[in-house]
Amino acid sequence: MRVQLKATHSAANPGLRRALKIAAAGLLASGTGKAQEVPPDAPSTGVDSGVLYYHENGRVQAIEPELNLSQMFGEDSKLSIGAVGDALTGATPLGAVPSTLPQTYIRPYKVVPLGTPVTVTTASGGSTVVLVPPAAGATTQTLAASTIVPANTYPLDHAFHDDRFAGHIGWEQALTSTLKLNGGLAYSKEHDYRSESANIGLSKDFFAHNTTLDAGLNYESDLSFPIGGTPTPLTVINGDWKGPDASRHEVDAVAGITQVMNRRWLATLSYSYADAHGYQNDPYKIISVVDPISGQPNSQLYESRPESRRKQSVFLDNKIHLSSDVISVSLRGYKDDWGIKSVTADLRYRFQIGQDYYIEPHVRYYDQRAADFFRYYLVAGEAMPQYASADTRLAKFHAATYGMKFGMPLNEGSEFNVRIEYYDQHGNGSPAYAIGQLRQQNLFPDLQAVTVLLGYTYAF
């Protein structure tokens, strides 16, 4: 039996056919401007130690023990050495935009000889180990890790884990009664990053020590060796092993003046200039390319930042000693040639309670303008910029820190203190120009973090 069916063509295709037509057509068409910490006043000779605990809402947590020792040698020389360790775990933003559909992210994991049985099916942080099909004749098997981000969820990399060790050694030498020379070396190592730096500085007192001029130079050399190699900027993310290690060099110069304004008021004004060259990308940060109509991410690219960065900042610090309390007020202005401009205002008030205890409330406000090349996402079909990053640390945002420090003497010369700080960051999660489904997403979730620092200092 042979049946020829009626070939009726209607304007509207029924649902199944329409879905199939669209799918078939689709198939065939395919082809930081972070605020700097004011250095603590270290005792001239003694021990300064602490343990810091840091926790972000639903993201990173870190434990950081720290130990600093300083020792005077005679009247004129001081040696200081210090070490700090960090253990960071948790989740960090990938840079990609959320979607109304689940998204899968791939990153290189490791390379094993071909034929190695892969017994691990889950890597850290809930990601899955994935076999990358080897090329013909390959003798190694590349493993990738994939992370599935559920629909309408801000994409985070849950496999984030880092241990850091840093140490420094410094020497300060009085050359004359008014001239001091200092120098130091510092080293910091993470499993995918290494930094070495050397600094030298001079300080000269004038007018019976009422005025001090400082000048310093710091050279830093960093090496980045990310897991999976260094990706090529603005290429599609995949599980392949990437390029070799990448280095970065930075020279910092700082000049400052400290002036005793009156017997209660000490003011410091300083200017710093830094010039960095080399690899400045975050090798794990990616940026989404979205459909110009639907706003759905089509692909994910590795970010691209300029290879050079010039930074300038001005810092004004005031310490005012009242009868027993101390007020510290500082302002910092920062700008760089990436287009970031920021202002930091910091206020601490140290209440002396009786002879021994003190309590120090702390408020800080930070406001930042975005880097010129910051983009929440790129749009498919538009010209590809030379630089683009969706790292929200380069976005416009403001943040406030509220803290409290409590100090108590233990016995002669030693003090125990505890500091608790709450950090509250807000960016623009709904830019007015957002496309399609991105209008219903939060592109820059607020961030809250708590820091607890237990400190112990002992002055000899």
């Binding site: 049946v3 020829q4 069916l5 199944l16 994939s146």
Partner: protein, 289 residues
């Protein structure tokens, strides 16, 4: 397959089928170039998704149980297969190939036991697959193949390559699934013969094709007869048994070969309801029972 005398033709074998490329031109160099282009694309797709030689598919199948990263093109095909699974309510399933190990349509007349079918069914079902583009994880023992998609996909891909290269009218026919670039030079449609299933080699009808593609599903020569009951070759991946009263072959016309082939397959899987399905979906089709 009708052929105008002046067409330049290239014949080759790919995907275990005779293939032919017709170029409506007198430029023999162009005819050869277009033929080579189609042939190399067909062979590329055959190699890439072969079930027998080292390929993306054998890599996935050998690592059933592990998560495997797939390239963009394979991911597109998997997305498409997943959609077809959903649209067919589970009847079109690229994991159903495992059933062929128990059903041998080799004319010996041996039926598998229910127990063996049940056993094989443990390894069948797209719902057991974890597909999170671009990562695919089959359950251990499972297999996939693109047999139900690959040939039609190759027709469309090859034709697209041809169209990038030349505006000359071309017909690409890979084992009976074919597509044309449009009307011939003189404004006439292409004439295509539908094979008579009862008398192989003879024509059962002539079809005029002015645009789009036609694809045929159904293997008219493969069935299994036992105790007077004829068991068809179209297996239901949900039950593990042949679909009742499936037409012997369905030929569908659509804009793309991929779409035509899928419509033909979905219709075939409806068994007795094939014609009704095709009519409801307003498909231009020829059903042979």
């Amino acid at each position: 397959m009708a052929r105008e005398r002046k067409d330049l033709s290239t014949n080759f074998t790919a995907m275990a089928s005779p293939c032919v490329v017709l170029v409506d031109s007198s430029d023999s160099l162009l005819g050869e170039a277009v033929g080579d282009l189609v042939k190399s694309e067909a062979l590329r797709i055959e190699m890439k998704f072969s079930r027998y030689r080292p390929s993306v598919v054998t890599h996935i199948n050998e690592h059933a149980g592990d998560a495997v990263l797939v390239d963009e093109e394979s991911a597109d095909l998997l997305d498409y297969a997943a959609l077809c699974y959903r649209l067919s309510e589970g009847l079109f399933d690229i994991t159903s190939g495992v059933l062929r190990r128990v059903w041998k349509f080799d004319g010996t007349g041996t039926l598998p036991t229910s127990a063996r079918v049940q056993q094989a069914l443990e390894f069948v079902g797209w719902h057991r697959v974890r597909w999170n583009r671009p990562v695919l994880q089959l359950a251990p023992g499972m297999e996939i193949d693109f047999g139900g998609i690959g040939k039609e996909y190759a027709v469309d891909r090859a034709l697209a390559l041809v169209q990038k290269r030349t505006p000359v009218p071309v017909l690409v026919n890979l084992g009976g699934d074919l597509r044309v670039t449009g009307l011939r030079h003189d404004g006439a449609p292409w004439r295509v013969v539908i094979e008579d299933v009862d008398r192989l080699g003879s024509s059962a009808g002539l079809l005029e094709l002015s645009h789009g593609a036609i694809a045929t599903s159904g293997n008219t020569h493969r069935f299994l007869e036992k105790d007077g009951i004829r068991y068809g070759h179209v297996l239901n991946p949900k039950s593990g048994w042949p679909i009742d009263e499936a037409p012997r072959s369905i030929t569908v016309h659509a804009d793309t070969c991929t779409e035509a082939g899928q419509l033909a397959k979905l219709a075939l899987l409806r068994g007795a309801g094939a014609e009704q399905f095709l009519e409801f979906e307003q498909v231009r089709a020829w059903c042979i029972r």
